[in-house]
Symmetry: C2
Subunit: 229 residues, 2 copies
DNA sequence: TAGATTGTTAATCGATTAACAATC
DNA sequence: TAGATTGTTAATCGATTAACAATC
């Protein structure tokens, strides 16, 4: 019975409704995009998957497989049109149009992020920063006002940001996260070295350079351990 | 015959010479460590893999498998001694002793990193910062001198750092990387949104919050795409 | 048409998870 | 001893890569 149901779904050729795109694919998409932008700027019109492999180190079949999640992009025997592919990847990632972003935490890291030009280049606009420190509230850094964290819900009703960058100390991260979600945020880029608990409709990505450094630290001695034997 | 060889090796208890540890395992190790430190601080003495799963979301079998790459750590029927495990993981990652680190790029991001307290807490000490901008050279930020990039090789002969943080603009990243390697650096934490070409004995990890934001941006609309169907 | 390169299927590889004998 | 939990083997799952028919 359950088997029959399964079979029917197959027969109808339903393309697996929740055709989940693997995260590694999404990550590579940004690599392709970066490379395509450079390529377009230098006037190249067409590119093959083999050339992508040469330049990015990502396997040509991998590249084609990655794209196949989103449709057809190339011409057999010819390759891919650089500017078209560039545009389509940007659209897939939804970074073709300006995205309002909220920053919480106007400390060292937060201020550095406000001044990071790459954000605007990729259409991510930090519209407001929030902090709970009275010494920071009211400041105007990099053309961005620092607002009282208590005004978060209030202000985001107007701003309508759905992505937030969280650059607060670890001990404040979870409680701020809850405020963010209440204020309508659905995606959080978390710089605090802590696991955030969020409901299933909210997505989180963590940036942890301490973790990255620890991995490097291990790898550094890995080679030596081998020769020590 | 080959089988016998294998058996012999097993009998000698050699733990598989080039037993490459998966990167995901190394990444999780830092998560465990963080959690264990908190746990130790709050006086807990013993922990089971089931409890680790409850707290970190990482599967209990995963945890045990991860540790198994490095030996035996727990007592069946009892669990793991928190402080002992903490110490051993720190030692595996080589973050039990101070590691000298070089920072290149004393811009916004670089300065923010110099002031990041987490680094010292995890025994990563930025010993010197380098920049090529005359306006930055000679500055003293967060107790760290900013030196002329041209003195990199020279100074690192004394400093002996093998890990570097690269926080320079994308267009300078590759050439600085080559100077770093020449100066004896073997591990690079790269903040520039570019693929660094390095020889096989050098390891690189990339931190790319633009990529992370792009993934979030995709995931944000993923849910909606489903309901649109 | 012949050569090149795509999109996709099948094979491989590696990582995650379940299951369980060993053991505290 | 009985109950709990480990370390490890086997099963599952998913991602990467190779191979190739389709097609420009």
């Amino acid at each position: 019975m359950a088997n029959l149901e399964t079979y029917r779904a197959d027969a109808r050729n339903v393309p697996a409704p929740s055709n989940k795109v693997p995260i590694p694919t999404l990550e590579r998409l940004t690599t392709y995009l970066r490379y395509l932008i450079d390529l377009g700027a230098s006037g190249v019109e067409t590119i093959s998957s083999a050339e992508i492999e040469r330049q990015t180190g990502i396997n040509a079949a991998q590249f084609r497989k990655d794209l196949s999640h989103f449709g057809e992009f190339g011409k057999p025997g010819v390759g891919y049109n650089v500017t078209e592919l560039e545009g389509r990847i940007a659209r897939i990632l939804q970074i073709h149009k300006v995205q309002p972003i909220i920053l919480v935490g106007a400390g060292n890291l937060g201020s550095a992020l406000m001044g990071y030009p790459g954000l605007k280049e990729h259409k991510f606009h930090i519209v407001t920063a929030f902090d709970s420190d009275p010494n920071k509230i009211g400041k105007h850094l990099w053309n961005i006002d620092v607002q009282d964290l208590r005004r978060l819900g209030d202000l985001n009703q107007v701003l309508g940001a759905r992505i937030a960058i969280l650059a607060v100390p670890a001990n404040a991260a979870q409680s701020v996260t809850e405020k963010l979600i209440e204020a309508g945020i659905r995606a959080i880029l978390n710089f605090a070295p802590i696991l955030l608990r969020v409901p299933p409709h909210v997505v989180v990505r963590n940036v942890s350079f301490l973790q990255e450094l620890a991995v490097l630290s291990y790898q550094l001695t890995e080679g030596e351990r081998k020769t020590e034997k």
